[in-house]
Symmetry: none
């Protein structure tokens, strides 16, 4: 018999809900199986670890509402970036995503294989979109053509990530300040 899609969905949903309710440390395979109405073996058959289940749950969520994945490009780089980073701040502050995201981060920290898959399937595509927007700005003359776009992405987004990770204050105003300062630095060279 081939893989049951109903079970797959139920497992991913259960994992996502449970991690929000009890946190990653108290998330158990048994709990996921019970909530999903599924045998434990069905989980072990298809995923190597609870981190992997969580990752797939994330992936499913990211792929579901398939809007246009590209970043906005109105021609005004600074305005567009502020918009995007403010949205990022909002998402990181949303309690519905905070717990699962912390869980996934913790899972990746201690599982290089999972981290590699994350990098490949979620992080890299997102970074490509970001670089694409910056390249478009270069072509429009809003950014020097010799600017290092990978460095630019890190300068713009990692401060947000740092504050989220350590539960520090994370406001839209901070996002604006990051965009202004980072862009100034990139243009100055």
């Amino acid at each position: 018999m081939r893989r049951s899609d109903a079970s797959r969905r139920a497992i991913l949903l259960a994992a996502f809900e449970l991690v929000g309710e009890v946190g990653y440390a108290k998330l158990t395979i048994e709990g996921i199986a019970a909530r999903a109405g599924v045998g434990k073996q069905t989980i072990y058959r298809w995923w190597p670890s609870k981190g992997a289940v969580l990752f797939d749950a994330f992936l499913a969520l990211s792929e579901d509402p398939q809007g246009d994945p590209a970043l906005p490009d109105t021609g005004d780089l600074e305005a567009d970036l502020k918009l995007v980073l403010r949205a990022t701040v909002a998402e990181l502050s949303d309690p519905r995503y905070d717990a699962p995201m912390r869980a996934l981060t913790a899972a990746m920290l201690n599982d290089p294989a999972l981290a590699a898959e994350y990098e490949q399937r979620l992080d890299a595509p997102m970074r490509a979109l970001k670089r694409a927007r910056l390249r478009s700005a270069q072509e429009a003359g809003q950014l020097p053509s010799e600017a290092d776009l990978d460095l630019a992405v890190d300068l713009l987004w990692s401060p947000l990530m740092r504050r989220w990770l350590e539960r520090a204050e994370l406001t839209p105003a901070f996002a604006d300040a990051v965009v202004e300062t980072a862009l100034a630095g990139l243009r100055a060279r």
Copy 2:
């Protein structure tokens, strides 16, 4: 009898060694007790969780070789920052510190109390030193007086952290580029 310092040291050492050998996920209180030649109760008596033990093990390490904690201040901000960030890159790449640091990060991710203690006892003092160096640069006219120093610290250090966290490439050259671009941005405004 009051707290046995020999046991305390043995426990912290065992925790530090074990986390390097088996990783945080497989680190157990029983394992630490066995390796330290100590009863489990002795650990439970003095620490609330294995994350707390790990944190203390870290603290002990940080405090042991008590050199001058201040960041170098030769008068040349850019050179000083490159020196410090290159040292940070080297430390993050050292396998002796990589595993324990990842473990501690994972512990904090799922334990806000631990994260708060970390922020208070390790992170805040370090950020204070960084801000002090930047303030000194302001006084020397190397940085505008209205620059946001908290933002500056994040712009400078969080890109390194991001790359370490996701096991991306982390080189001294990247550290230099971050310093140059971030400083340019801070000066331009």
Copy 3:
């Protein structure tokens, strides 16, 4: 399509071999199916339990070499019985039959339905043969006509069974002694 005889044979053979290798407790339907190169459903379709498979494997073995089933009747009851009981001792001591027989006994102990089928299809016919030989002795005047033949059968065979069951010493000499003493008792009344 009707029942595949090749599969049936393969299943019975696999069950018989496996029970000799791993014992009844570790005998599994999955193991039998795998060894026989057969789907599990093919076993469940035709047998209600692993005890029943084992029983059929036994039946197949008992029926294969269809010699004359009757007990020897030379006219000398004591000599004939000694011959038969010595043969029983030899069979019970043969390691090829010991393991499967213990398995079947264990299966029957906890499955009255199986026990009833055993009694009907294997035990009763055998007891009938034994009674027939004793009746022949009665007719020849070697045994009193009022002797209880069912009691006689138990007196003669159950001591062997007892010693086999508890893995006690079981020798041809013991068989002889049983025959002599039991016959003496039966004749004395």
Copy 4:
């Protein structure tokens, strides 16, 4: 800490009760632990198998009501034996003992180590008592001095066992007949 006697008793009682309720095949360590209010590990720590638990439960029962263990000796061997065998028939027919006894028998069938312990700690002492009664009869001239007492014990008791094992009819009258015929045989030689 040393072994908890309360847990030990609770486990043996639970095992005994459960085997009577669900039978040996459906008796589980988890079930025993749950019924006894005990962790599974406490069972695994002290017993190697569920058969061993059952055996100890039996042993505890046998040793509890420590009446005079000797068989009755009124001077009349035949009467005494009939008394004892009728009592055995009654016990074998008592549903309270039937299930546990079948369970123990099944356990021993597939576990030689358990069978050896049974032989040593329960069967051998009982056989010694039986032989003692028969030896007393020899001294009283009711049995020939050259009679094989081990054979005698098997002739007397194993027919009962056989009928119990195969769920055949087992009556006091059968016990009497066995005693009469077996004794006649033993005396005749």
